[in-house]
């Protein structure tokens, strides 16, 4: 079984509360095929993490959710984050934009966020039964409520054909999904690290002991951030460390 865009079902919605919600309902009520893509121009209640809102002007950005049956174990779930964020990086690269993955799963250009990923899984035994990979990627939107958001247009000062971009983005993504079929893919981890925001650069962080200067050295298999602090490598979970601007 491989992940083929050409045989995927593509669902275009004029407007929807959230493509991830639509995908979740689809999974509950039907048996969508592997690689089903849900796209919309207008997402009315886009969601970020836990109650955060994802704002997107109608018809200007890529708003999309992809349903996968990834066939991987729960303990390997960070692979999903890695390959989907790598897909975004490669996609941007094709337009001359250098994106970086802000750990664990946002994509930044310089110090501004260009894309957000929201992955929601359903588990069964030790396996991931199904996975919804949601993304909001800013393309032609110019103004943002947030001061740390940007778009492809703002970065390049070019306007893009959204449909063409969506097609290209899905192509790159499906290529990356096929990495799931490989048992041990060293390129996955390495490519993620090569594109990690702040890797090997001294910067300020905050942990439970207070502010400190540290250096990101990597990410472990589970996704924990490895930071060098006072000459020692310390592993951090999400809530244990913050980036200080």
């Amino acid at each position: 079984m491989s992940f083929e865009l050409s045989t995927s079902q593509i669902i275009w919605l004029d407007a929807i509360d959230s493509t991830n919600n639509f995908a979740a309902n689809l999974l509950k009520t039907t048996k969508p095929t592997n690689g089903t893509v849900i796209l919309t121009k207008c997402q009315e209640k886009g969601r970020g993490q836990r109650g955060n809102v994802w704002e997107s002007e109608s018809g200007k950005n890529i708003i999309c959710s992809i349903i996968l049956y990834p066939g991987i174990k729960i303990k390997d779930q960070f692979k999903l984050t890695q390959l989907f964020s790598i897909a975004v990086i490669k996609f941007l690269e094709a337009y001359g934009i250098e994106g970086k993955i802000k750990w664990p799963n946002d994509v930044y250009v310089k110090d501004e966020k260009i894309a957000g990923i929201l992955i929601e899984n359903s588990l069964q035994g030790s396996l991931i039964k199904s996975s919804i990979l949601g993304i909001g990627l800013n393309v032609n939107q110019v103004k943002f409520a947030s001061s740390v958001a940007t778009s492809m247009r703002n970065v390049t000062e070019r306007k893009f054909d959204l449909e063409e971009l969506i097609n290209n983005f899905l192509n790159v993504s499906f290529q990356e999904f096929n990495r799931l079929l490989m048992n041990n893919d060293p390129n996955l981890k390495n490519t993620y690290l090569e594109n990690l925001y702040g890797l090997n650069q001294p910067r300020k962080f905050m942990d439970k002991e207070g502010e400190f200067e540290g250096v990101i050295k990597g990410v472990d298999a589970f996704g924990l951030l490895i930071v060098e602090k006072n000459g020692k490598q310390v592993q951090y979970d999400l809530k244990e460390i913050t980036f200080v601007r």
Binding site: I74, Q77, G125, S126
Partner: protein, 165 residues
């Protein structure tokens, strides 16, 4: 094998006059030793080692309480669960952060006293911003919620107690 079978087996072994009986099944091993001179039996019950990644792990509490005839010695029997032995504990299949609610402004998936059906989503566990819906593997009534909203959970940590009856 349930408790009645074990009791019957013990009775059978006691009466038979043999000194030791071992019985091994796929996920279960029982050894009954009798000392006919003192009239005491030793019962060793072993459940299969926990499956490393079966999850959500639903385990019958190993309530292998020694039957009255063997009160003196049941060395390897696991301590009887303090809860009703019919209750089933749903455990966390992974390390992460536990959420009882689909979103902060929504009601919890399940509350004490609610009925759940197999396959119902009962909580979300997040790890590294991956959100995992955990489904009930049994149908029943929610007896206890063991973890607070938005707190870290360990692999195999009990989350809910369900009464399947």
């Amino acid at each position: 094998m349930d408790i009645k079978d074990i009791q019957n087996l013990i009775k059978f072994v006691s009466k038979s006059g043999v000194n030791e009986v071992s019985l091994e099944k796929e996920d279960f091993k029982i050894t009954i030793k009798t000392d006919h001179s003192s009239g005491a039996e030793q019962i060793v019950v072993q459940q299969a080692a926990p499956v490393v990644h079966a999850a959500p792990v639903v385990q019958q509490p190993a309530a292998v309480a020694a039957p009255p005839a063997a009160q003196e010695a049941a060395p390897a029997a696991q301590p009887a669960a303090e809860e009703n032995s019919n209750h089933i504990t749903i455990k966390s299949p992974m390390i992460g952060t536990f959420y009882r609610r689909p979103a902060p402004d929504k009601d919890p998936f399940i509350n004490v006293g609610d009925s759940v059906a197999q396959g119902d989503v009962i909580c979300i566990i997040e790890a590294m911003k991956l959100f995992n819906e955990i489904e009930a593997e049994v149908s029943g009534k929610v007896v206890k919620v063991l973890v607070e909203e938005n707190t870290p959970v360990e692999y195999d940590q009990p989350l809910f107690i369900i009464d399947p009856s």
